[in-house]
Every structure is written in C-alpha cells, then in structure tokens.
Amino acid sequence: MGMSGTLRTTPLHAAHRAAGAKMVAFAGWEMPLHYGSQIEEHHQVRRDAGMFDVSHMLAIDLQGTGARGFLRTLLANDVAKLREPGAALYSCLLGFDGGVMDDLLVYFLGADRFRIVVNAGTSDKDIAWIVAQRTSGAGVDVAPRRDLAIIAVQGPCARKKAGRALPQARGSSERLHRFQAVAVGEMLVARTGYTGEDGFEIMLPAAHATELWNTLGLQGVTPVGLGARDTLRLEAGMNLYGQDMDEGVTPFECGLGWTVDLKSSRDFIGRAALARPAARQLIGLMLLERGVMRMHQAVRCDGGEGEITSGGFAPTLNRSIALARVPSTVAVGDGVEVNVRDKWLRARAVKPPFVRNGKILVHG
C-alpha cells in the first residue's frame, strides 16, 4: 500500500486515477468518490453490475486451536453456526458495556482458521482490542492481512460477469449460496456484499488486484465509487459504522439485535450489558415532501425526539430516505417530522430495507 500525502492508497489507486475518479479522503484513505456520475453508478449496480475497490477494509486472520473458542467470546453472533468451511456470518464486535466497537463479517476458512473483515476507520482500534482480549495460552494467532486487496462485484449480472473474468473460480463460485465463500488459490471469493444486490466480494493478493479490476472491466463491469456505495447500502437498509452505530449504542439500538446470539449460554463480551431493554431503535424514514434528509437532522415523533443517522437521496426510489434513531415507541407506518434546513417536513416510519434485489419494498 502506498501513501499520498498523509492518506493511504490502495493497490488500485492508479487504476482509479486513470479512470478519471474524483478522489476523496475517507477514514485515512484516498478513495474514489465517483467516476463521473454517482447516480449512474448507483443505477448500474441495481440494473447490471458494478465493481468497488474496498481494499481500505482490513482482513484479519485468526488461526489456532483456540480460534473458534476465542471468537465465541469476542463476537456477539455465534461462530458455532459456521460448520462448513466457507460459511460466513455478520456480527458486531462489542465493548464490555455492550456498545458497538465495529461490525464485521467472519469467514470460517477451515480447520482452525477464521478471517474477519473490519472497517477501515476502526481497524487499528480493533486489532489492539482483539490482541488485548486474547488471554495467554488462548491458542490463537492474529494476523492483519494488509497484503490483500478486496474487490466487490455487485448487481444482478455480477456473478455471471465475474465468472467470465475468473474462469479458474467459475465452477466453485457458481455453486456458492449467499453468505458462503470459497478459496481459489490465493483468492477468497465470497457471495456477500453491501448493496442489497447479488454478487461477490473477492479478496486477493494486492499484486493481482489491477489485473482482476481490468479483466472485470472488459466484461462490462464498471467502477463504482464510495458515493454510490453509500446510497446503495442506505437503500438496502444496511448500517454504516460511525454513523448509524458507534460505541455509544448497543446492537438493539441500531437495528442489529438479530445479529446478537443469546440462545447459547456462552459469555461473550458485552452480553451482561445487553440485559436492559433498549429505549431507542433504528428505523427507516421516507420523506413525503420534496427535499433531502441528511445526517444529524432532528426528528419529531409521538414518543419524543430522534435524529437522522444516515440520510440522502435514493436514486432507485427517486426520493429522500433515511435511517433514524428514535424512541422505541415509534411504530412502522407512523408519521414523523424531520427538520430539513429549518423546515419541518413530513416523513413516514418504514421497516428497512427500502430496496432489495432491484425491487422497491417500501411505498410512500
């Protein structure tokens, strides 16, 4: 990985520049915001296939006879569910007070090997935390994999086009179920993503990233920047760490209660703090008037006040949508008001996702 000024750059930095990307600072990295039109890139992913450089995210390998037991203590979801090699799981990493330190995907690679993929902005903190929680004799090595690049290929035609670009992985990747991964040589191909569309996330040695990027381009997969990544994930009702959740909220206060496994008796970090009922919840909002909801705007509702945690214009719905933290008394279908540039505009509470697999699931 290189450096540009004080910002870190991914192995695809030159490719982004060559494609005319508008580069911006994001979590300490210089990343593409868009390559021309953010809205066109959004539609491309909903209708065909787009590719994202997400190499700023960090893969961390955990290996050893104690790896599974350690992860069962470390994560709020239970890796005991990962029985077959290649199986993946979404989980929160909690502090002792039940606050969300990060959200991540964990992959069972086989035998005593696991991989987690964490957010760029939290990766240093995560590693320090993980190492600190590892007791002596835990029997687990922790290896950050900055030698890997990560390319996401997303959209209804993503798997087909990625299969053409990766003939060596085609057979094995075609058979993948959602939330399943397969190792192909030095590459890990996972049927996961952050857009609400089908597709793959591909981890591979940094030295091979540009070749894969260009090969995908030849198959008609077009580059998509962080701007469209954000509107796609917002339409898909997926949280962004640092906006929709942080250490100040529990999974139950940010719509991620479903990822907390309380069925087993295991004593995972943060569990004790989750006993008290949540006074707040994360809901979806659809704006019923013209305007654009944005992060930090105030929400007025029957049970009190709330705040927009992520808001914007949703290209698929052609209107503004948001995620908002509001009192637990607010129910789906309720009318609320949002303070958009000093005007109180009407919005309706909805259950995310707003869009999944190209289909609009909520209606104003």
């Binding site: 915001l33 039109s37 809205i39 013209r290």
Partner: protein, 129 residues
C-alpha cells in the same frame, strides 16, 4: 468552455446573463455543479418575490450536499424554471442552459460590478487545489 465570456459571475458561484428585455437570468456555474455532484433537487424563489442582493433565495441539493443560492442582484423575481423540478439533472448536463430564475434588477450598476469570466475562473481554480 467552462466559464463563458459573455456572462457575469458571483463569488458564490452563480452566473448572470443580461437579457434583451432588461431582465437577468441566473443559474449556477459549471464549477459549482462539478463540486456538488449529481443534482437531485432544485428550489427556486417564488415569482413576484422581491430580493436584496446577497439574500438567500433558493436551494440546490445534490447527492452530496445542499447549497444555498444567493440573489446576485436586487430586484423582483419575474420567472422561475419549473423544468428543473422534474429534471434537476439538467443542472449537471448543461449548467448554462439550465437557468434557475430571472430577476428584473432594481439597479443596473449592480450587474456591472459583478465578476467577469476571468475573475471568476481564478476563484474556481483556487478552489480546485
């Protein structure tokens, strides 16, 4: 041609064109739409509203941010471009054709005092670096 010579400009990135009937037409510059990214929402001042130079009188929202529009001149709003309500993307496609509103100026001297293309281009260039 990102800053046409025949227009006047403000440091807040509006362009102003003198019309034959004495009114002026107002929009946002190529540089402004480039900084904003895809425009998704345009709110114009109501026809008949009396504006003071520098007054906030409209909003352009993009995928990225909201930008206030300021009256480049004092005067009465005589027209607003309703086409932008349904097709805000025209601001990106051709910012000098996608006009926002027209004013009948109170004081023609205000128009003469606005920035010319060369002076505005310097401001735009400085923001890019």
């Amino acid at each position: 041609m990102t800053t046409p010579d025949n227009l006047k400009y403000t440091s807040s990135h509006e362009w102003v064109r003198q019309e034959a009937d004495g009114a002026v037409t107002i929009g946002i510059t190529f540089h402004a739409q480039e900084m904003l990214g895809d425009v998704v929402f345009v709110e114009n001042p109501a026809v008949g509203r009396k504006l003071k130079q520098g007054e906030e009188c409209g909003v352009i929202e993009s995928v990225k941010a909201a930008a206030d529009i300021y009256a480049p001149l004092s005067g009465e709003v005589v027209a607003a471009n309703a086409e932008l309500t349904d097709a805000p993307e025209k601001v990106n496609q051709d910012p000098y054709a996608a006009w926002m509103f027209r004013i009948r100026p109170d004081d023609p001297a205000e128009l003469a005092a606005l920035l010319d293309a060369a002076a505005y281009q310097k401001i735009a260039d400085a923001e890019k670096h």
